[in-house]
């Protein structure tokens, strides 16, 4: 295989974690909403945890994105 082709395939594979991050974010917000609808008075107290979980989960996907960009640009 040519090195150039392998580079693009590798960059594509490296961006796959974004799919996992999308599923994870859906689970986080979905579960928060279902919990918040059951007990709306407790929702405000858990907003900080929600945002923290959002940021931590998004990071795992973005790491893949950054590596994919690095493969494209650096090599």
């Amino acid at each position: 295989m040519e090195a150039e082709a392998a580079k693009y395939i590798g960059a594509g594979i490296a961006s796959l974690p974004l799919a996992g991050a999308a599923v994870g974010l859906g689970i986080i917000f979905g579960n928060f909403l279902s919990g918040a609808f059951r007990n709306p008075s407790a929702a405000a107290a858990n907003q900080q945890t929600l945002l923290l979980a959002f940021a931590l989960t998004e990071f795992t996907g973005l790491l893949g994105f950054v590596i994919s960009i690095l493969i494209l640009v650096v090599f």
Partner: protein, 290 residues
């Protein structure tokens, strides 16, 4: 000379676009530039190397200076009056202060307030750099003076992260002596599992500065790349016929949506950076309660 609608829309679009895109010194109709160009470091005031370190004043230094100066001016002016009933500016300053103070108290406890100045500085520095990086570049700005996000460079975020971990290690040994090593030995673990757990805890401790720094870097880097990729779509579509020019509205709206997400992320990442710093400092303060 009359201006038809089909000419007006693209002209307006490109005017707005030129304010959004961060390509410096670009004329209004530009070629779709490389989204990596915004991260270029330009030496504004060259300085000779000292012990092999390049101490030049770069655009990264410039934007860090701008954000720190803005924060200094804001907090100095807003709290100068010290009114019992705060005005608008003083209210904002007090809300930010209370926000971080509550975070430190929740994570470390009342004795953790000695870390408050550090955590507050860290939060404001990261927040200001993230937000200032989102400002659009003035069209026609000279080379090197485009809007620059200092936190989108891994060296800046890693330096902040290693500073935090250095404080954790030094303060941890100062406060607990060698009892700080209890951090790696969770209580209530069966003895036969202990070697494995200690190894895992040790590796997780070593990866903390990396994950802390790379998290902030990756978020800023990815967000700004996405913005510029969308801007590139708009520019490419504006080069086409009338229908393609109309289609350019779609990525344009995409820029607006991503921009709103980026403002949220800019705040959120500063918050996450500060709260993780608090959690790590808590380990140093209460190493035995792990």
């Amino acid at each position: 000379m009359t201006i038809s609608l089909s000419d007006l829309i693209p002209t307006l679009m490109s005017l707005i676009l030129s304010k959004l895109s961060a390509f410096s010194a670009a004329p209004i109709m530009v070629m779709a530039a490389d989204p990596m160009e915004q991260f270029e470091i330009v030496r504004l005031a060259p300085f000779p190397n000292v012990f092999g370190f390049d101490l030049s004043f770069t655009n990264s230094s410039l934007w860090m200076t701008i954000s720190v100066t803005a924060a200094l001016i804001f907090f100095t002016l807003s709290t100068r009056g010290r009114a019992l009933i705060p005005g608008r500016a003083q209210s904002v300053a007090e809300i930010i202060y209370e926000f971080i103070a509550n975070m430190v108290r929740d994570a470390i406890g009342p004795e953790g307030m000695k870390f408050f100045p550090y955590v507050f500085t860290l939060f404001i520095f990261v927040l200001m750099n993230n937000l200032f990086g989102l400002f659009p570049t003035i069209p026609g700005a000279p080379h090197g003076l485009h809007t620059f996000t200092a936190t989108s460079h891994i060296i800046v975020t890693l330096a902040l992260a290693f500073l935090t971990i250095a404080i954790v290690i030094i303060y941890g040994f100062y406060k607990n002596g060698f009892g700080f090593l209890k951090l790696f030995v969770p209580s209530g673990v069966p003895a036969w599992l202990l070697p494995l757990i200690v190894l895992i805890e040790f590796i997780s401790f070593l990866s903390r500065p990396l994950s802390l720094g790379i998290r902030l870097f990756a978020n800023m880097f990815a967000g700004h790349i996405i913005l510029k990729v969308f801007a590139g779509f708009v520019v490419s579509l504006l080069g086409g016929g009338f229908m393609l020019k109309l289609l350019a509205l779609v990525p344009m709206l995409g820029i607006v949506a991503v921009m709103m997400l980026e403002i949220l992320v800019a705040f959120l990442q500063a918050y996450v950076f500060a709260i993780l710093t608090c959690m790590y400092l808590n380990d140093a303060e209460h190493a035995d309660a792990h």
